[in-house]
């Protein structure tokens, strides 16, 4: 029992990172855009988020306050991700480039920008770039009251986490409500399912695609920032984020494009990625545990396509561009 509690608790730490990446990508994909640049977007979010907090602290000195640093890091990461996605949106929506290729280009570009910013900060500071313990504690502090954290089993699982986890959960719920309860959410899903029909119905498909992709990119980027300021110890790590974005793309499938599934799905993925340190399954080498998330994703993908049930599919127009004059 204790082992499961610690596994879940630890899974949430990494799962939080994934949850942002995934929620952002779900929003993007709901509009019919398959943005494969999440890897690059998260790199940029990590680098710019860290830069935001770092330069704020440099300017404010010892007076730097934790909450302001958190807000600035969030804003910087979001802006970086939104900017990257804006490039993607402009290319795929307005200039009608191939989504797969553009996404891959963005992942190359974003990884480059993230590493460049991280390296450049180090070079211009002439040494390592790290936040003070004060801010580090602010980022990794458990925000729930201590009596809640003290409850056995439920305490550590539900109440021992950073602010970022609870924000992600709230975001997931809000996104779920948006898709299922609001008119605008319904329109967005319609755009993703069939842009031609929505266009004919008078929905501004271009606007929906742009907004969903840009905001989605911003949310994904926050995941990169959360990774740097929580699990990576507030220092830039050259290869640290590699693969995280692709894992988030996998998680979108695992969640079958539903925000609420992302909450538990990300914890499952997070736990699978660190399981090799904590659990041993007979006959399966521990190094192979790390491919479990991808294996289960493939299985989900196969089963959803075999069952072919309408509500478990990717948005119908996913990956396809919409050309009004060709409809």
């Amino acid at each position: 029992m204790n082992m499961i509690v610690t596994l879940v608790t630890a899974g949430i730490t990494f799962g939080t990172v994934l949850m942002y990446g995934t929620l952002g990508e779900i929003l993007t994909e709901k509009s019919g855009n398959l943005n494969l640049g999440v890897e690059g977007i998260m790199y940029m979010g990590g680098a710019f988020g860290l830069a935001g907090a770092f330069y704020y602290e440099k300017a404010a000195g010892a007076a730097a306050s934790g909450p302001i640093a958190i807000i600035l890091a969030l804003l910087a990461a979001f802006a970086a991700g939104a900017a990257a996605s804006a490039i993607y949106s402009f290319l795929t929506i307005t200039l009608r480039t191939n989504q797969n290729v553009t996404g891959l280009a963005l992942s190359i570009f974003g990884t480059g920008v993230g590493q460049f910013v991280g390296e450049f900060m180090r070079l211009s500071e002439g040494g390592y770039v790290a936040l003070s313990n004060n801010l580090k504690n602010a980022f990794s502090a458990a925000v729930m009251p201590s009596f809640l954290q003290g409850i056995p089993i439920i305490g550590p699982i539900a109440f021992s986490h950073t602010i970022f986890f609870y924000m992600a959960v709230v975001l997931a719920v809000l996104m779920h409500l948006y898709f299922s309860r609001t008119r605008s959410g319904l329109y967005l899903r319609a755009v993703g399912e069939s842009p031609a029909t929505s266009d004919a119905a008078g929905i501004n498909t271009t606007k929906y695609k742009y907004l969903a992709t840009i905001i989605g990119g911003g949310i994904s980027a926050i995941g990169g920032m959360v990774y740097i300021v929580t699990t990576a110890g507030c220092v830039w790590n050259h290869e640290g984020l590699s693969g995280v974005g692709w894992l988030a793309v996998a998680l979108v499938i695992f969640c079958i494009w539903r925000p609420l599934n992302a909450i538990w799905g990300s914890i499952v993925f997070g736990a699978m990625m660190i399981m090799y340190l904590r659990v041993s399954i007979p006959f399966i080498p521990q190094q192979l545990y790390k491919i479990l998330p991808y294996v289960v994703t493939v299985i989900v993908l196969i089963f959803t396509s075999m069952r072919n049930s309408r509500d478990k599919q990717p948005p119908a127009s996913l990956g396809l561009n919409y050309f009004r004059e060709e409809r």
Binding site: A10, Y128, K136, G233, I274
Partner: protein
């Protein structure tokens, strides 16, 4: 159409101008004979505040030492190279850019470095922490390491005193004195490191035991943090590490357990957790090797030095949280190590499968990855880093559990 063509021509001109501007090679090779160009190929960068950071400090220290002697060094530092073919490319790059000595800072670089050395016989290649130069029959390959196990032993003593203090004060029961050790790989350098650390701790805290968890990477901030947390979850009350980052220290601090560091003083990162650290002072070796080269002497083929030579140093003790009397004890152990009255791997202090260790080979001469020559156990101790600089202690002793 015409406009497009004009634009194209202009752009083309701009570009050709750009390339012409730098037509002359701007690679600087050492102009005056007193300047030596040295390449340093690193697995990470200063941001790890650990392994590579420690090398950079060594680099700067050596520059300073040699500048006083009139030897100037121009460094070409290449960061964030993987233990893969990018290391081949980095070595070629450093060689082509005019480096006379090329230092590879990670163990796994050596096989890739060896792919390049024959193409540049006039350049000296150094692989830190590895061991191929003995048998490869080449003149321009070298190895270097320091007796870091001495430093780890002392760090272990500091940890052990803290644990014993906790036992004496009743904070933990004697059997709860468990050390968690974040290791990179189940590999001689790591095994040697944690064993010496454990023996140091047990010399002052008899009830101590240790759990080791491997993260399968020299430098993976997340995995190191996860491993430290997993160890703490399994009841470890003190964390130490053989990995490149500071995240184990951060993890220890966040869970309120103690920590000792490697490569760097981590008390700044975890003031309430980190007791002490130990590191290799690479400046000693770098200055020695480069001085030898500058004077036209041979760079030692396999260099190894210890605490007595200043090649292994302890970082400042965190007096605020260390057990009382630690500083005195550390000084006493240092002196005993220096005069040889204390052997780290004294075979009377540990058992293997319940029995005393009487035999272990040091060197692998035939390349099958199992040691087959040079008896390391004699005079009542296992003699580490005597036959080669790279550690070869791979014995698993009682009291230490490997979790994965």
């Amino acid at each position: 159409m015409k406009r497009a063509l004009t634009l194209l021509v202009v752009l083309g001109l701009v570009c050709s101008f750009a390339f012409a501007a730098g037509g002359a090679e701007s690679a600087s090779s050492a102009a005056d004979s007193n300047t030596i160009k040295v390449g340093l190929i690193c697995i990470g960068d200063e941001n790890d505040q650990g392994y590579t950071y420690n090398f950079i400090r060594g680099r700067d220290e050596a520059t300073e030492i040699l500048a006083k002697e009139g030897i100037n060094i121009e460094w070409l530092t290449i960061y964030n190279i993987g233990e893969d073919s990018s290391c081949i490319d980095a070595n070629i790059e450093a060689a082509e850019e005019g480096c006379e000595i090329i230092i590879n800072n990670s163990y796994g670089f050596e096989p890739f470095m060896l792919e390049v050395v024959d193409d540049y016989p006039e350049i000296e290649f150094i692989s830190c922490t590895n061991c191929a130069s003995v048998f490869d029959g080449r003149d321009n390959t070298h190895n270097a390491f320091a007796n870091i196990f001495e430093g780890r032993y002392i760090a272990g003593v500091v940890a052990g005193m803290k644990l014993q203090q906790m036992v004496d004060e009743g904070t933990i029961k004697p059997e709860e004195a468990v050390i968690g050790y974040v290791g990179a790989f189940p590999f001689a350098e790591v095994v040697s490191g944690y064993t010496s650390y454990f023996l140091g701790a047990r010399s002052v805290c008899p009830s101590v035991t240790m759990k080791v968890m491997y993260v399968s990477s020299w430098s993976d901030a997340t995995a190191e943090s996860d491993a430290a947390l997993a160890l703490i979850d399994q009841g470890c009350v003190l964390i130490s590490q053989h990995s490149d980052n500071t995240t184990p220290a951060t993890a220890a601090q966040s869970r309120g357990v103690f920590h000792t560091g490697y490569n760097n003083d981590m008390t700044g990162i975890a003031p309430e957790a980190s007791l002490i650290g130990t590191r290799i002072d690479w400046g000693i070796y770098f200055s020695e090797a480069i001085r030898a080269y500058a004077n036209g002497e041979e760079i030692p083929q396999d260099w190894c030095a210890g605490m007595a030579d200043g090649a292994v140093v302890m970082t400042p003790l965190n007096e605020a949280i260390a057990a009382p009397g630690t500083a005195e004890k550390v000084a006493e152990v240092e002196a005993a190590l220096a005069d040889g009255s204390l052997q780290v791997f004294d075979t009377s202090t540990f058992t293997v499968g319940g029995e005393e260790l009487t035999h272990a080979f040091a060197l692998d001469t035939d390349g099958d990855f199992t040691p087959d020559s040079e008896e390391a156990v004699y005079d009542g101790a296992f003699h580490e880093s005597v036959f080669q600089s790279a550690p070869y202690f791979t014995v698993r002793i009682d009291g230490i559990t490997e979790l994965n």
